[in-house]
């Protein structure tokens, strides 16, 4: 479980906190959704959960261990490797698609052949095997997004953090992704956190959700309930 306990965050140069006292869990095999308008701090919160950003107040623990206290030790890296964050805008490296998918594997010391094999498998899983030898210039925005998700899945993380994963996906890809995520949570026990505006996509999941506004969690409930409360809020205000 990833547990963010009453976390606060502000940038060094600024006086204002962008995350104000939020507590959030991502359970193994569970799904946690972040809702809210742009600028409410969803990406920042996801980055805190992914151990990219250190909270100014409060703590983040993964399976009971506090990453930021472990600092530079070997245990810290192992802990970090349990979580993967996927950017809203895909960052692809130079090379073929399979090489992109293999980045995380190569960083962990897998051989080129092993990494290639696993990359192919992951692409297959997401239904985009045919892209494997294409280069980043040749991909559409949706294809690039699927590739970056495949890259995260290839290293078989324990926790998957997705930032607006469906913003460029067509219907077919969204369906595939939805199925894959639900399978992974049920069968592999992977914990997933998603920030999204895509309500139809979200409503297919069961789990927890919070609605954020100005760095605070104004609604905190299960997904279905949070969605209806949030839409009521939007239509009334």
């Amino acid at each position: 479980m990833i547990f963010a306990d009453n976390v606060w965050f502000k940038y060094e140069e600024s006086k204002d906190f962008v995350i104000r006292g939020i507590s959030l869990k991502v359970n193994e095999g569970g799904v946690t959704i972040l809702l809210g308008p742009n600028g409410s701090g969803k990406t920042t919160l996801l980055k805190i959960l992914s151990l990219i950003i250190e909270p100014v107040k409060g703590s983040v623990t993964i399976d009971g261990l506090n990453y930021w206290e472990l600092a530079k030790s070997r245990k810290a890296i192992d802990l970090r490797r349990k979580v993967v964050y996927v950017h809203e805008k895909p960052i692809l490296i130079r090379g073929e698609v399979w090489e992109n998918v293999a980045v995380g594997l190569r960083l962990r010391g897998y051989s080129r052949d092993e990494a290639e094999r696993i990359a192919y498998e992951t692409l297959e899983l997401l239904g985009i095997r045919e892209l494997r030898n294409k280069r980043r210039r040749e991909l559409s925005a949706g294809e690039a997004q699927m590739v970056s998700i495949a890259r995260a899945l290839a290293i078989k993380p324990k926790y998957l953090i997705l930032d607006e994963p469906t913003s460029n996906l067509d219907h077919e890809k969204k369906t595939t992704l939805s199925k894959v995520l639900r399978t992974l949570t049920k069968e592999e026990g992977i914990g997933v956190a998603i920030a999204s505006h895509d309500y139809p996509f979200i409503s297919a999941f069961t789990g927890e959700a919070i609605v954020m506004e100005n760095g605070k969690a104004i609604i905190s409930s299960n997904i279905g309930d949070a969605l209806s409360k949030y839409s009521a809020l939007i239509s009334s205000g």
Binding site: I52, V83, I93, R94, L107, A152, I155
Partner: protein
């Protein structure tokens, strides 16, 4: 005195080999230095401004300082580097280092934000992150190499002071041009200058092509 084309060829290839070597050498340590600087807030706050101002340092000053060091009466005189192309290579690589670091530092900083974060989230350790960031900054590296090479090719002060403009040994394009100017052979000097510029442009074009190929 007749200027022979064989001699022009010799001087040209010497210039290219010297400046190319200096550029490659300076690039190798500049990449590492630049990366180290991106990781250290205090170093970059104080070091970068100093380096930026050193980009334009007069070549004759570097040449003079290096001469006093390499002179037989100087601390490194025993190396017998004076009046050799290697002395010029040394001087030019020092000359272009601030330029390279300034440029590469800028591109690494940008790459660090994207590829650095990517490598981090995918579980890279320090070395892994550094490798990915540097690898993905290769296009900018190529660009910086073009600029540095051009600067090295066009410098005069270092080649003059530590090279000695010795015919057949350390005469390079810039010192040859200076010599022709002092002889009053302005037209010849301009012709040599045109060749120098042409060569530098050619190298720039080639490296750009390589860069395009890499980025594909």
């Amino acid at each position: 005195m007749v200027f022979m084309w064989g001699e022009v060829l010799e001087i040209t290839s010497r210039s290219v080999m010297i400046s190319l070597s200096a550029t490659l050498l300076a690039a190798s340590w500049s990449i590492l230095a630049s990366y180290a600087l991106t990781r250290s807030k205090t170093a970059s706050k104080y070091v970068m401004p100093v380096l930026q101002s050193l980009v334009g340092i007069p070549t004759v000053l570097i040449g003079l300082l290096l001469y006093t060091i390499l002179s037989r009466s100087g601390p490194l005189g025993f190396l017998s580097l004076l009046y050799t192309p290697n002395a010029i290579i040394l001087g030019e690589s020092i000359l272009i280092t601030p330029l390279l670091i300034t440029y590469i530092y800028g591109s690494l900083k940008a790459s660090l934000d994207t590829y650095g974060e990517l490598a981090y989230v995918l579980g890279g350790d320090k070395l892994g992150i550094a490798s990915l960031v540097i690898r993905e900054s290769t296009p900018q590296l190529f660009s910086s190499i073009i600029i540095a090479f051009s600067r090295a090719m066009g410098e005069l002060g270092i080649a003059l002071m530590v090279g000695g403009n010795i015919k057949g040994l350390t005469r390079v394009m810039t010192t040859a041009i200076a010599l022709e100017v002092s002889k009053g052979e302005f037209e010849l000097a301009i012709a040599l200058g045109a060749i120098l510029v042409l060569i530098t442009i050619s190298v720039a074009v080639i490296v750009n092509l390589i860069k395009k190929w890499w980025e594909r």
